[in-house]
């Protein structure tokens, strides 16, 4: 199918670091059937990675793919995706991790839609890709450098116009939540793929391309640029803000601070990343710029959890806006003619948690250390630091000698702790470098995971509520819009939907699958989301859209627009020229989710029992309104979800009929031979 010349550029490089060989694969072996991005990754992983492979084994494959829209100028197409076995997932499982920046586009200019990395280099290595050529080069002078010096050195070696993705010391030292970082503070973080790079002796991938990407329909492309997320097309100045933070964490900043707005990736029409300029560095007296997104705000102060309004998940045609408008503060004004408007904008205040007082400089230092060492900020801010704070306040750390008094409000301690875990120093460094889920189990989960913190107070029901000292939800990840823990203040229907999405996944799903539904639908399941077909249908809609975001590609902050359901189909068609309907993409994403499910079943032993037991315990912690899920309610919902998906209720395994309906007979055959099809 090499005559197809729009959207894709045609090649995927399969790079074996053990044998130092590169095989060129045709993208058209996979597309258009598998669309691109994560859908292609899933297929490659299924075909190539055997059960029993561990995240840090040479046999683990890291698969990186762009989409048909990448480098075309269709907004949000600059996003790209990694998949592979995640060291940060608990237990280790197959996960995905998205990434912005300019590298995906540059890779296409260099002639590749993606690459696969397998094996392990004998020596410290980096990969240099230029215009169809792939070279493995020695990285001795890069190894040991932090993230920004590594990027800088690669620009010195190869020219300022190269684009790189690199790891920092956290990845080198196999810290399980290490990032792979590209430009603009854009990271693939939650998979911990930085540690997979480290395990393969791979420090960086640097790309330069001079080639061409051709979108099919340029008029349509321009129409999409004006319509997607309704760009304001007006000046966006740097402003001096007098305060920082939100809700109970807001503090005045002496002299103010400079806020700008920048785009995360190639060709976007928004600028949702908040640029904090002239900030304190952890490593030098020089001031630095860094990007703040939703979690970063809490590095600065975390006395009160995030507030929430229904509009963030439940929308009407007259009142809906995309998340990209929030950090750039370009939300359209509410339409109060809408009878639901008072409900949609009603604020649910976050719980008072008193983890740490606001400290502008300390927050900046914490962010800088995560950026430079290459550590997932989520794990640091939401999990490590809150755990230290809660354990300290509950007197659980008295027998533990970290070598410095635990005090998350002390900038020096924050630096000391992050240094200790990144470089695996002392007795506790190696324990915490394994990530919180594993560290807690090493230390003793009953005491260090399940002990109750007594400092949580609900502002919605005006009473104290229990919270465990570890904000663990499932799969080695921390809470995220799940009714308790971080970003916990959300109505029950919202956290039930998010928890269901999380259950069938392998990691925090919220970077790609924030739940969106129509407000009138929400009214149908507000009181009882556990027995609602509407809720299950909306979950499936959001799951499928999530799959597409990483495949077309587009972005969590512009998709889905529930009142423009075929937006992704229009994007894909404009890029490739292949007539595409929303139904076509739905079919492709259902199939992709089936392959994902089959990978989990074949390689990682996924069953109903496993996933229900992973997710349910966290739902027994009271939400902001004091509500919990019961075992019966949760299992009723799981029954209903499996029923709609036509999966076996006992095992959670899809039936042969389902696989065959989506053209996956070969998967059904293989699973049957392994005894992993329902009887």
């Amino acid at each position: 199918m090499s005559e197809m010349r729009y959207g894709y550029v045609g090649k995927i490089a399969r790079i074996n670091l053990t044998t130092s060989t590169v095989e060129m694969i045709s993208t058209f072996d996979y597309v258009p059937e598998y669309i691109g991005g994560r859908l292609v990754c899933n297929k490659i992983f299924w075909d190539n990675v055997k059960p029993g492979t561990g995240a840090l084994d040479p046999e683990n494959m890291l698969i990186y793919m762009t989409g048909a829209t990448t480098a075309t100028g269709i907004p949000t197409g600059g996003r790209s995706v990694f998949t592979g076995i995640s060291p940060n997932s608990f237990p280790e499982q197959y996960v995905w991790s998205g990434m912005g920046g300019w590298l995906g586009a540059e890779l296409k200019f260099a002639g590749f839609d993606g690459f696969i990395i397998e094996g392990k280099a004998e020596k410290h290595t980096y990969i240099y890709i230029e215009d169809g050529k792939v070279e493995l080069l020695p990285a001795d002078d890069l190894w040991g450098l932090m993230v920004h010096p590594t990027q800088k050195k690669l620009e010195e070696k190869h020219g300022k116009d190269v684009k790189s993705m690199v790891i920092g010391p956290a990845g080198e030292n196999l810290m399980r939540n290490a990032t792979v970082t590209t430009s603009n503070d854009s990271v693939a973080a939650k998979g911990g793929f930085g540690a997979v790079f480290g395990s393969k002796n791979l420090k960086a991938i640097t790309v330069r391309g001079h080639g061409v990407v051709r979108p099919y329909d340029i008029d349509k492309l321009f129409e999409l640029r004006m319509k997607m997320a309704n760009p304001t097309m007006r000046p966006c100045p740097v402003v001096r803000e007098a305060t920082h933070g939100m809700d109970g964490n807001m503090i005045p900043v002496e002299g103010g601070w400079l806020r700008g707005q920048v785009a995360c990736s190639h060709g976007c029409n928004q600028h949702c990343n908040r640029l904090m300029m002239d900030m304190k560095s952890a490593f030098s007296d020089e001031r630095i710029n860094q990007v703040e997104k939703c979690v970063g705000i809490f590095a600065y102060g975390y006395q009160e959890d995030c507030s929430w309004s229904p509009i963030q998940n439940f929308e009407t045609e007259r009142n809906h806006f995309l998340p990209c408008k929030m950090l750039s503060m370009e939300n359209p004004p509410p339409d109060f003619e809408d009878p639901y408007a008072p409900e949609l904008f009603k604020q649910v205040r976050g719980d008072i948690v008193n983890f740490w007082k606001p400290d502008f400089d300390k927050g900046s230092v914490m962010m800088d250390m995560c950026n430079q060492y290459g550590i997932d900020k989520w794990d640091v801010i939401v999990w490590f630091m809150t755990w230290l704070s809660m354990c300290k306040q509950e007197g659980l750390l008295e027998d533990m000698d970290f070598g410095m008094e635990v005090d998350v409000e002390n900038e020096e301690f924050v630096k000391y702790f992050l240094d200790m875990i990144t470089y695996r120093k002392g007795k506790y460094g190696p324990i915490f470098a394994e990530g919180m889920a594993r560290a807690i189990r090493t230390l003793g989960k009953e005491k260090f995971g399940d002990s109750i913190y007594h400092g949580r107070y609900s502002q919605m029901i005006n009473k104290p509520l229990d919270l465990p000292v570890s904000l663990e939800t499932a799969w080695g990840h921390s809470f995220h819009w799940q009714g308790r823990g971080f970003e916990g203040s959300i109505y029950k229907a919202g956290w039930v939907a998010h928890s269901l999405e999380l259950m069938t996944s392998t990691r925090d799903i919220m970077t790609i699958a924030h739940f969106h539904d129509d407000y009138e639908n929400f009214l149908k399941y507000r009181d009882d989301p556990y027995h609602s077909r509407e809720l299950v249908d909306a979950v499936i809609f959001n799951e499928n859209k999530a799959e597409l975001k990483d495949s077309v590609t587009t972005c969590e902050w512009q998709s889905p627009d529930i009142y423009w359901p075929d937006m992704e189909a229009q994007m894909y068609e404009a890029a490739t020229g292949i007539p595409t309907t929303q139904e076509d993409l739905d079919f492709a994403s259902e199939r992709s989710r089936l392959i994902f499910r089959a990978i989990l079943i074949r390689n990682f032993g996924r069953t109903r029992e496993m996933e229900v037991n992973a997710v349910f315990p966290a739902l027994t912690i009271p939400d902001t309104f004091g509500e919990v899920a019961t075992w019966e309610e949760w299992n009723d919902l799981v029954d209903l979800y499996y029923e709609v998906k036509d999966w076996d209720k006992e095992t959670g395994w899809p039936t042969r009929e389902v696989y065959e309906k989506y053209g996956l007979k070969y998967i059904a055959d293989e699973l049957e031979a392994l005894g992993k099809l329902p009887q």
């Binding site: 075309t72 001079h210 061409v212 051709r214 492309l221 920048v262 190639h266 029409n269 710029n289």
Partner: protein, 166 residues
């Protein structure tokens, strides 16, 4: 132009100060430049350049300043066929005639050169790409029209960070 005379510039793309609007680094300007001129996207074709601040996230826009004494035009061995000047004094490339010799690119007084060259093994494909202010486009320069934050516009003043190096 006499040796010590300051160079003057025609109307060209300028980037506004960040207290008016901060470049988002979205590269839309580069992309729409090649989409409108060439029907594709490629770093070898764009005639406006985002000098990316990979870590600072502060980006500088580089483009042809339309020097009044047009050294690029002067250097072209096929002037008035390949490198031409229109009735509004805009220097532009007629690509059908361009032989891809690169002399105009070398003659540009700015570093990096504001003239891009298509890199191709096929010599016939090698063409100079130079900002022509979208001179035949009724809406004016596409980059200005499509910049989502309106941080670029038109002026005859040089950009503050533009340093003539040659």
């Amino acid at each position: 132009m006499e040796k010590n005379d300051p160079r003057t510039y025609g109307k060209h793309i300028v980037q506004y100060p960040m207290d008016y609007s901060l470049c988002a680094g979205c590269t839309t300007c580069e992309i729409v430049c090649t989409l409108t001129h060439d029907g594709l996207v490629s770093p070898s074709y764009n005639r406006i350049f985002v000098d990316r601040g990979t870590r600072s996230m502060v980006h500088h826009i580089l483009s042809c300043q339309h020097c009044s004494d047009h050294p690029c035009y002067n250097a072209c061995p096929k002037k008035d066929k390949a490198m031409c000047i229109d009735e509004n004094n805009i220097v532009y490339v007629n690509e059908d005639e361009c032989v891809g010799c690169g002399l105009c690119q070398k003659a540009c007084v700015f570093e990096p050169s504001r003239i891009n060259m298509v890199k191709s093994a096929d010599k016939k494909q090698r063409k100079a790409k130079k900002c022509d202010m979208c001179r035949t486009r009724p809406e004016g320069p596409a980059c200005v029209q499509w910049c989502p934050v309106r941080c670029i516009g038109l002026s005859t003043d040089p950009l503050p960070w533009e340093v003539e190096s040659k």
